[in-house]
Symmetry: C2
């Protein structure tokens, strides 16, 4: 049986024009090697406009935070030794002064955040004191030296890297940068991605398709994925199945953008013209074509005038998975990000799922939490043209090449592309 299916598989690969299928890892290696990717230009933006931008260089603090020893509570700044032995029954008595210097047996009223005055080394909390009169304080509980004091540099030390290059800036990063006196940061320019759909069968969204036609949805999906990564997008429209037209539109995209992504016309058949168009635009052209994965096998990767061209399947689901596997890492690499910017969760598979040996399979699943446990329910329809699998799923599981499937109750690592859901929403 194995020899038959291997033979059929080889025929398929030959028929589709692929001498061999390339593994995802090898495809990426070749692509990035040929591409010699340049990082994006750096631009400065105000903190108000920096949310979700990617920091281009380490930010080093020019000061200590707090800049001085600061009270962490409302109370009285004191010399700790003057409170030793204090208790509810035998309080220690101190003199309340308004000085900026705390002497022996003296106390200065202080609010949270205020500098601890000279001479004091601790703060007694208000609720551990009793004011006898205008200038006499009873301390009911001892404090240790340093107690209730936020020490200079405790939060951030001068010279410390406070936010690293490659960080996608979240509100908390903006907060700490502002606290340190910064008002603007250096971030990478937004990557520009030009998106082209190809196919005689396609009509624009909103047009009514005749029986041989379908509505073009890939530009909307791919542009949305790019926007989620903080890219600007350029719409190159729909190209008919004509090498000249495709090449001309890709060329326009190369001029206008940092990356070109196409959909359709990539499996090598009568109408599969995009790789030919890419090659026509100059060396190296297509550097990988045919990936050992499912879906998205006919994905191709090219380089034109030093810029990346990602040639995705026309199948919406295959296009999404192909973009996730090749497009997203490319964009994150251009942005030099510090993490793969992904959320994962481990979940128990609710039923068995089969896959094909020799290819990485991307199983779409719906993850939900029940009684504190995570479950991943494989979404039933598995054809790569079945777009509803992507809206019914909220994540995917990668099934390795050497496994024919996954077992029920197996713990799987799910890569999330939407929020964790609730049971019964599948």
């Amino acid at each position: 049986m194995l020899t038959v299916s291997t033979r059929v598989f080889k025929r398929l690969v030959r028929l589709k024009g692929f001498e061999k299928l390339t593994s995802i890892e090898e495809a990426k290696r070749i692509f990035f090697e040929k591409l010699q990717l340049k990082k994006l230009d750096v631009t400065e933006v105000s903190l108000e406009n920096a949310l979700n931008r990617v920091l281009a260089e380490d930010v080093v603090s020019e000061k200590d935070l707090p800049p001085f020893n600061r009270s962490a509570v409302d109370g009285y700044a004191v010399k700790a030794k003057d409170t030793f032995g204090a208790s509810q029954l035998s309080p220690k008595t101190l003199k309340i002064v308004e000085d900026s210097l705390v002497g022996e047996k003296q106390a200065v009223e202080i609010w949270t955040g205020n500098p601890v005055p000279e001479g004091a080394d601790a703060v007694v909390m208000l609720e551990h004191t009793r004011k006898k009169n205008r200038d006499t304080l009873e301390v009911l509980k001892p404090v240790a030296p340093g107690e209730n004091v936020s020490r200079r540099g405790e939060d951030v030390r001068r010279g410390e890297v406070v936010v690293k290059a490659g960080t996608r800036l979240k509100p908390q990063h903006l907060g700490i940068l502002a606290a340190l006196g910064f008002t603007a940061v250096k971030v990478f320019r937004k990557p520009k991605v030009a998106v082209l759909a190809t196919g005689n069968e396609l009509v624009e969204p909103g047009e009514k398709p005749s029986p041989h036609q379908i509505v073009e949805v890939n530009r909307l999906i791919i542009s949305g994925l790019c926007q989620q990564l903080g890219c600007e997008t350029v719409d190159l429209g729909i190209a008919r199945d004509n090498v000249d037209e495709i090449a001309s539109k890709i060329s326009k995209g190369i001029e206008a953008a940092d990356v070109v992504v196409t959909t359709g016309g990539t499996s090598v058949g009568a109408k599969d013209l995009v790789p030919e168009a890419v090659n026509r635009l100059g060396a190296p052209g297509i550097v990988v074509h045919g990936i050992a994965m499912r879906p998205a096998m006919p994905t191709a990767l090219g380089v034109v005038r030093g810029k990346p061209v990602i040639v995705l399947s026309g199948n919406p689901v295959a296009a999404m998975i192909g973009f996730e596997v090749f497009g997203k890492p490319l964009i994150l690499k251009m942005l030099n990000t510090a993490t793969p910017e992904a959320f994962f969760v481990k979940a128990k598979l609710t039923r068995r799922a089969s896959s094909v040996l020799g290819r990485k399979s991307f199983l779409r699943v719906y993850v939900y939490m029940e009684n504190g446990e995570f479950y991943a329910s494989p979404v039933r329809l598995m054809g790569s043209g079945i777009i509803s699998t992507m809206t019914k799923a909220n994540g995917y599981v990668v099934i390795p090449e050497d496994r024919g499937g996954l077992e029920k109750d197996e713990t799987v690592l799910v890569h999330m592309f939407d929020f964790i859901g609730e049971k019964g929403n599948v």
Copy 2:
């Protein structure tokens, strides 16, 4: 010991003006009951502008997808029974016709996505055929009825709810909506949140603080958190510690926005004036003040002219946690979202962490993956004024009221607020 600390705790609560601390759940219940929250208005946007908006009503498909039986492969449409018994050694011979009707022992060439012609009930893949001459086909492998055919309605059935109300629209949702012929969708108007900081000690970002002053960072943080949830924000500036000024700015916020969020001036001391200002603006005013949580205990919740006012601590970290616990659920409730819009992960705690009995503690952790396992490393500095704990952490663990801490190696559920990281980045 317990009685002493309970006594101290009660003193503290009284001193801070809180008759009692309210649990988070009870605080939310009271708040939402007094608030009688109205859902936001609905507006229609084009699919191009719908990314990350929240769908206001179920979208029901008006058609089947695919709209007809469609070939899932490149090949020949046939009657399945004409292929029964076919093999490499004894192929079945069919006549290639160009008809739109497939008769007995006939085959019609078909491309992926094309309608399956009348009379045919299956498609033989190109690679399982051999073309003998212009009109003679040899089939090398049998197909079952329905094989390689995407059946009408297989992806989406007419009348089916294709995207549910409350869905935050992702690229895949836009794709399926376009495929079904929609060009626009009804979404909720963006919530408007007005943000006010209070405190005599505050200076605007970019100004140089003198020793008793600090840079105001909470508006930047809270506005960022709101923008991440798809809100528009209104900056109400900084109010001095003056009830009239605070009340006047909150009142302006109530006019301009759906929600007012304030920071600072909430623990009941000499300068804690925001709850008083809220109460002055009319009944019911503050409905909860003092939450059994840490940090963010002095959080207060109010209702003014039917609109919510969230009174957060001036401490950046306490403000963030307070917003996460009360502000985010409020906004998601206004948007009627289908999920809590959160990512969770289970991780092993790398060391023990202590907390305070009787309050929910929010432990900041850094989650990373190593050898396929998730680990959560508690971020060391724990003061709620330590803003760097929020940039060093990428998630938090809620420690329940009845536990004094968490043990090393304990499996904890982490609520992520940034991407999963890599080891050594703590």
